[in-house]
Amino acid sequence: MIIVDHLTKRYGDTLAVNDLSFEVRPGVVTGFLGPNGSGKSTTMRVIMGLDAPSSGHVTINAQRYQELKAPLREVGALLDAKAVHPGRTARNHLLALAVSNRIPTSRVDEVLEFTGIASVADKKVGGYSLGMSQRLGIAGALLGDPPVLLFDEPVNGLDPEGIRWIRTFFRSLAVEGRTVFVSSHLMSEMAQSADEIVVIGRGRLITQGTVDELTASDAGSVLVRSADNAALRSVLEAAGNTVDTANDGTMTVRGASAEAIGQAALAAGVALTELTPQRASLEEVFMDLTADDVEYVSSLDATNHG
């Protein structure tokens, strides 16, 4: 369990995180989503005790990071895959980490094997591809078999096979009852790998909820086809709903549930040929939610949107 409580972090004039509060529960994969520069990495650094909050606090299983006796056994993190001395081998890097937290050195071979980099473990990390570095970072996070795991943009640089592997892997960590907190600026990625999502923009919390809740929240609309659109439309509009009729004869109804529309059609004696509740894609929800909070808009986008 990670609790972020009214966290604010300033760097000089930059307000990187602004009064941010949320919780990350064990047993599920929680996605941490926000546009570039929204404060995801900063929040993670504060959670890891690397940067001090300007105000507010963060606890991991009710403890401050600095109080953890053997932090690698309690929290594993991949913050920056390339943050390893390029001249050192993966094995020696992991060995030093293990020894510092008195983790049995046999774990080094286990995590190397598990992340699939055992064959290059004795090569210098400087020569690794981004994907291999990500795997090494994940190996480091797993070293202490910790109940809480943080991954900052872990999918960067992974091939499709690696992405599939990492998704199932996050899921399995959550199933084991661990707290899994994964950041990304790609909603599509989160939609497939997370159960719960924390969305931030410009350092502020925009929303927190399950993937289902977030996609349903914008739903409200139902796609309808019927034998007599005009009749059904007048009935629905009379009930206070808005109805858009498209050229292909489909109507998009807002304000009524599929069930209510079915009832209305029955009462009006109109046969329905299609009745489909619309789910917003997580991508759309994200774009909507963060539209006002995107810090770096490309000039092309900026002109298009006026």
Partner: protein, 260 residues
């Protein structure tokens, strides 16, 4: 649960220290410079001994001259100390290190234990070797010194202490500045540029300021009979050690206070 201790962090730092090439190269350069330049200097003195002025012969010190290579090796050990910490900042691995060891003072203590003990061993071995080699080269032509004399033994030992202190100074500067090039610039400035600045000061200041320069302190530490305008060998050691302690304490406070 076994908690993180200075001992476990020291073990980890020892692994990190010995598994990068810059450390090995740094010590090889230290050895080569101390012995190689020691051989060069002592051979040159032997060659010119007959034609040397009587006054210089009178104040000739067979010990400090045989340790002359340390004046070059001091840069090598300084860079070892600097790289030990700045490489963590340049690669970003400092964050991994500090996440694994949230009590940051433990990281500094562990790194110092590793750096000081390895450098002390290498430096003492190499200064004794340089001393013995130098006396061998002087033998028969130039007066030689013997380790049987307490003052000679002290000078040689303090030669190794000087190199160890400078490695530690480099580490402190690296930790403070977090950047290799900046730390190397400041380190070399302290050793080379400060004496030049002092040189343009009024004569009366020069004599009182010069003795505080790191390089003068080193010379005093390695001289059997330091000249009168210098500190005595032990005082010089204390003065240099206090510089190093100040820089290390200041940089540790910064490490604890600043964001990683």
């Amino acid at each position: 649960m076994d908690s993180v201790t200075v001992a476990s962090v020291t073990h980890a730092e020892w692994i990190k220290f010995r598994t990068v090439r810059s450390t090995i190269v740094g010590y090889v350069v230290t050895v080569v410079l101390t012995l190689g330049l020691g051989a060069l200097i002592t051979s040159a003195i032997r060659g010119h001994w007959q034609t040397m002025e009587p006054l210089r012969k009178l104040t000739f010190d067979p010990v400090s001259t045989s340790l002359g290579g340390t004046l070059f090796a001091q840069f090598a050990v300084g860079v070892i100390g600097i790289m030990f910490i700045t490489s963590e900042y340049s690669s970003g691995s400092i964050r991994t290190t500090l996440a694994a060891t949230p009590r940051r003072v433990q990281v500094v203590v562990a790194k110092l234990i590793v750096l000081v003990s390895v450098t002390a061993v290498v430096a003492e071995v190499v200064v004794f070797a340089a001393f013995l080699m130098g006396q061998r080269i002087y033998e028969g032509v130039v007066p030689t010194a013997s380790l049987a004399s307490g003052a000679v033994l002290r000078s040689v030992i303090l030669g190794g202490v000087y190199l160890t202190l400078l490695a530690t100074l480099g580490f402190g500067l690296g930790l403070l500045l977090r950047q290799q090039s900046a730390a190397i610039s400041v380190f070399t400035s302290l050793l080379l540029i400060v004496p030049i600045i002092v040189f343009v000061l009024p004569q009366s200041w020069q004599t009182s300021v010069t003795r505080y320069e790191p390089s003068s302190l080193g010379h005093a530490m390695m001289s059997v009979t330091p000249s009168l305008d210098m500190f005595g060998a032990w005082t010089a050691t204390l003065v240099l050690a206090s510089y190093v302690v100040c820089v290390v304490v200041l940089s540790t406070v910064t490490l604890v206070r600043r964001d990683a």
